[in-house]
């Protein structure tokens, strides 16, 4: 897997300098610390100090957050170079009372490779994909989209009780899955079925879980979209929000104790970062040095709550440093950016055995779920705009086609085949038997306890006595 570098002359963002890439040993360059021309430690003109963020990095040490700390610690003509020792380490002091601003002039920029039309931006650096991977990625995105569309329609027709789409977030789903290794353990929120798709979960298996049939590994225990697969290292979706985050730190701790070359990957949305579990997980993972990759899909909406009402910080990426966790913000609708960033982040997590936070900016095109009608709280034109002009699949498709690896004809064929496949899977799943009575009582504990044995026995006796009242669709 070679890396393909491009140099640039002009880049709109701050990626101006030579940046070493991908290898953990390189250090990142920062802007030189502020030094007033008079040699005094004067503040810049604004009385409220802005703090610098990491300029750009895929690897390397963290840049200093606050410009003036350098001045304090260096020896100075003033002689005020002492630092004081407190629990937690030495800290420089200042005689100027300065509050760190609650907001910065510039938001943290997001890492992007493809422009809106799917062409690589001049000067961008990314990890090159080979044809096979790129085509597989694109095909998986199409599968996900078609599966979402048809299952959603099935729910609307009353054939399914509930469904939740990932429309607009196909790039995050598939590119992340492609960038991770199959040994990495995924703790999803619920908008990541693309990872299962990538790892080999079949459409039929998705249908079995949604319809709760006896064929699914789920034994009809969970609501639709609460997929899980031990073989594919995908922990079952859990409904309470953000509970998977500290659990991911625990899984990572276990991997660390095993010495495995794998990490735990936990997903959350923007809303999930408000939960207490998010704080506990980030803090604890940093303290324990657990190899967990936190991926936040900031899609702008938590059901009807926009991010402006969810938090007042600059998104989620700035929270990383607060916990001592390295973080990056990426364009989540740019499949190549997602792929490159996750690959790099994962390498950091596994090599350095430390947590990393990735904030992927995106947009939730669909409704939150089938129980939601988002036109009630956001404008239809906003949704349409993202769907048509800012579509992650279109951008990636343009790039793949520009490389000559895909064509319109293949597109039509693929869509046709997939539609048939999904429709057929639904039809079969609808007609398949549901789990049998015994599955009501098993797996509560490792072994069936006596009280449940009694209950099952008593239930079967009741069924015998009142055969006519027993529902026909429950196999005995």
């Amino acid at each position: 897997m070679g890396s393909w570098f491009a140099r640039s002359r002009s880049i709109p963002y701050l990626l101006k300098r030579n940046i070493s890439f991908l290898h953990a040993n390189s250090s990142c360059k920062t802007l030189p610390p502020y030094k007033s021309p008079h040699g005094f430690r004067e503040r810049p003109a604004a009385s409220i100090l802005s703090f610098r963020r990491l300029e750009s990095t895929l690897a390397g040490k963290q840049a200093q957050a606050v410009a003036y700390t350098d001045d304090e610690v260096d020896s100075d003509a003033d002689g005020e170079n002492q630092s004081i020792e407190f629990p937690g380490g030495r800290v420089g002091f200042t005689t100027q009372m300065e509050f760190i601003s609650e907001a910065t002039d510039k938001r943290v920029p997001c890492y992007r490779v493809l422009d809106d039309d799917g062409f690589p931006i001049a000067g961008t650096r990314f990890e090159q994909l080979d044809e096979e991977t790129a085509v597989k990625m694109y095909k998986s995105m199409v599968s996900l989209q078609i599966m979402d569309t048809i299952f959603y329609e099935a729910q609307r027709q009353g054939r399914l009780s509930f469904y939740l789409t990932s429309t607009g977030e196909e790039a995050i789903n598939i590119a992340t899955a492609a960038a991770l290794s199959p040994d990495d353990i995924i703790l999803p929120q619920y908008r990541e079925p693309g990872i299962l798709l990538w790892r080999g979960f079949s459409i039929e298996e998705f249908a079995s879980q949604c319809f709760g049939t006896k064929d699914g590994h789920g034994k009809g225990r969970q609501m639709p979209i609460h997929y899980g697969s031990k073989d594919l290292n995908f922990i079952t979706v859990s409904s309470p929000i953000a509970t998977q985050l500290p659990q991911a730190a625990g899984v990572a701790y276990s991997l660390k104790m095993d010495g495995k070359e794998a990490c735990a990957v936990a997903f959350t949305g923007d809303g999930g970062t408000s939960e207490g579990d998010f704080h506990a997980a980030m803090n604890f993972a940093a303290v324990m040095e657990a190899p967990v990759l936190f991926i936040c899909r900031n899609n702008g909406w938590a059901i009807s709550t926009p991010v402006s009402e969810q938090f007042r910080s600059d998104g989620v990426v700035v929270k990383g440093q607060a916990y001592g966790i390295r973080s990056i913000r990426i364009d989540g609708n740019d499949a190549l950016a997602v792929y490159s960033a996750i690959r790099a982040a994962r390498m950091m997590v596994v090599r350095e055995q430390k947590p990393v936070l990735v904030e992927a900016l995106t947009y939730r095109v669909g409704h939150h779920s089938t129980s939601d009608d988002s036109t009630k709280y956001r404008s239809v034109s906003e949704i349409e705009q993202w769907k048509r002009t800012r579509n992650p699949m279109t951008r990636f498709r343009n790039w793949v086609q520009a490389n000559g690896w895909w064509s319109d004809k293949e597109e039509t064929e693929l869509r046709g085949t997939l539609r048939q496949q999904v429709l057929k899977a639904i039809q079969i799943a609808e007609k398949t038997e549901k789990p049998s009575l015994g599955d009501l009582f098993s797996d509560v504990y490792d072994k069936l306890p006596s009280n449940l044995q009694e209950q099952e026995k008593s239930l079967r006796q009741t069924i015998k006595r009142h055969k006519q009242d027993f529902p026909a669709d429950v196999p005995l």
Binding site: G218, K230, S238, P240, Q247, S254, S442, D446
Partner: protein
């Protein structure tokens, strides 16, 4: 140094220069410190024996000498006030410990001297005897000054003698013994016998297989954790203060030193955080033991316990099992107020997917905790802070490292025929006291120790009620929707015809627990109404 034959012409003849009326300094710094640090001893005349395995008069063997006896013994119990039990009685500490410091040099080693008196057990009470023991231990130097725990050396040197008239027992001076004119008689044959016996006793780590030994609930839990962590490298502990602080209630004492910070993890203050982490670790195959400082704090993590730990095996159709143990003190302590005193047996007991255990004695604690750690299902282990320091007799079987108590089986603590009293945790002790009081009135009560709240041993309860025809349930928790309500329902469903009277529930008052000691007592069941003023 060879064992010299000191007996000549029937009497002991010591070589010149050797005397065995040592000062306290000599005891600590010449004999005990050398023994502790495995340096050669000046004389191999002091045998090693478990002094608590025999009654003091047996220690003298066949010798009818009335001189002081000296033994090296295990220093267990030297740093606390626990009583040491022997076959016929108990040694009790008499007064506080005394420090012995080397007068000549400022050594870091300090000796501790404990005075004990032997009480003989006779039918219903214990009677003081004239047997006195001075137990000398060594306080080892501490790393941190603010650690107020005393680390004592492995050995203690015990001087045992019979108090005679005129003999000072409470000696404050180093050299307080009136020098006896005759040299002590010493029979080496007894030495050899005692020595071998002593070796055998010491080899069983001071718990002799023949006699009943006692163990506190704290030691029971600590030893169970120690043994399970030693047997299975996947078992690890997590909680606030479990490592460096040795545990908020000293339950995890010594485990950090033994197993290291990767297996005894001190956590930041986030129940939600570390419970979630424990559940996640269990998903991936580790076997965490998560300690809550009290189960009142488990409410900050209850989503992880119920929604994740309890339900995951079912929801994942058997793919994800959660072999985790949540343990900690539950229920009322003493003067800790409403937010530290609630009993959670009923709440956790109503949740399918969990197993809920409530030990009473040391045997319960050891056996149930070992069973819980080995169990593939999530277990909530409800201890009791006030029981930690209580000692219970333990059999040799209990002390074996493979000992386990089956989950889901109650224990009949006391057989009876007139009424069944069902209780768990601390209330078992109160029920036994109540049964004693009832016995005086001619009522023969059967006391059942539930041990397991979920699964509930309905068979045992019903069998007992069918025998006695009357049932009283006792719990510390709130009455509404409590454990007693479930027991009553199960008996009414299964054994209605056998009941001669309605089932009686005794529970805590339906109020948040008050702090003031007098009304706190009123808020919980007590064994006997006449024991405190109303």
């Amino acid at each position: 140094m060879d064992k010299l034959n000191f007996v000549r012409d029937g009497g002991r003849k010591l070589p010149p220069g050797f005397r065995f009326e040592p000062t306290e300094e000599e005891i600590v710094f010449q004999y005990l410190s050398r023994k502790t640090f495995s340096h050669p001893l000046p004389a191999l005349v002091i045998p090693e024996i478990d002094v608590f395995s025999m009654d003091p008069w047996q220690l003298a063997g066949d010798s009818d000498s009335e001189e002081d006896m000296y033994f090296f013994s295990n220093a267990h119990g030297c740093d606390n006030e626990s009583e040491r039990v022997t076959p016929s009685g108990v040694w009790k500490a008499n007064g506080s410990s005394k420090k012995i410091i080397n007068s000549s040099k400022r050594m870091p080693i300090v000796g501790i001297k404990k005075s004990l008196v032997f009480y003989m057990r006779s039918s219903t009470k214990i009677v003081a005897t004239n047997w006195i023991m001075h137990q000398y231990c060594i306080a080892l130097p501490q790393q941190e000054q603010n650690n107020c725990l005393v680390r004592i050396g492995e050995w203690s040197l015990c001087r045992i003698f019979m108090k005679k008239g005129g003999r000072q027992v409470e000696d404050d001076d180093a050299n307080s013994y009136s020098a006896s004119s005759s040299s002590p008689n010493y029979d080496p044959t007894i030495f050899n016998e005692n020595f071998e016996q002593g070796i055998g006793a010491v080899a069983l780590r001071a718990y002799s297989s023949s006699s009943a030994n006692k163990m506190t609930v704290r030691d029971a839990i600590n030893s169970a954790l120690d043994e399970e962590m030693s047997a299975d490298p996947k078992v690890f502990m997590m909680g606030e203060e479990v490592g460096e602080y040795q545990g908020a209630y000293k339950i995890t004492k010594g485990l950090l030193d033994k197993y290291g910070p990767q297996r005894v993890v001190d956590t930041p203050i986030t129940e939600a955080g570390f419970t979630g982490i424990g559940v996640g670790a269990a998903y991936h195959g580790l076997r965490p033991v998560v300690e809550f400082m009290t189960f009142n704090f488990s409410m900050q993590a209850i989503d992880h316990i119920i929604n994740s730990a309890a339900k995951s095996n079912y929801m994942s159709a058997g793919q994800i099992s959660v072999p985790i143990v949540f343990r900690g003190p539950n229920g009322a302590a003493s003067g800790v107020g409403a937010q530290h005193s609630q009993c959670y047996a009923a709440w956790f007991g109503s949740c399918p997917g969990l197993k809920v255990l409530a030990p009473y004695s040391a045997e319960d604690a050891r056996g149930l905790l070992k069973a819980a750690i080995r169990d593939p299902d999530p277990v909530v282990f409800l201890e009791n802070e006030l029981l930690y320091g209580e000692s219970f007799p333990v059999s040799a079987e209990t002390l074996d490292s493979s000992f386990c108590v089956p989950i889901g089986k109650a224990k009949i603590e006391r057989e009876g025929k007139d009424v069944t009293i069902v209780a768990y945790s601390k209330m078992v002790g109160f029920s036994l006291q109540a049964a004693d009081i009832l016995a005086k009135e001619g009522i023969n009560a059967e006391v059942i120790n539930l041990r397991s709240i979920r699964p509930l041993d309905r068979a045992a309860i019903n069998a007992s009620v069918r025998k006695t025809n009357r049932l009283v349930t006792v719990e510390e928790g709130f009455p509404q929707h409590g454990v007693g309500a479930e027991i009553c329902a199960t008996v009414v469903e299964d054994s209605f015809e056998y009941l001669d009277a309605p089932v009686q529930r005794i529970a805590g008052a339906d109020v948040p627990t008050p702090y003031a000691a007098n009304i706190e007592r009123m808020a919980f069941p007590q064994a006997c109404a006449s024991s405190f003023p109303l």
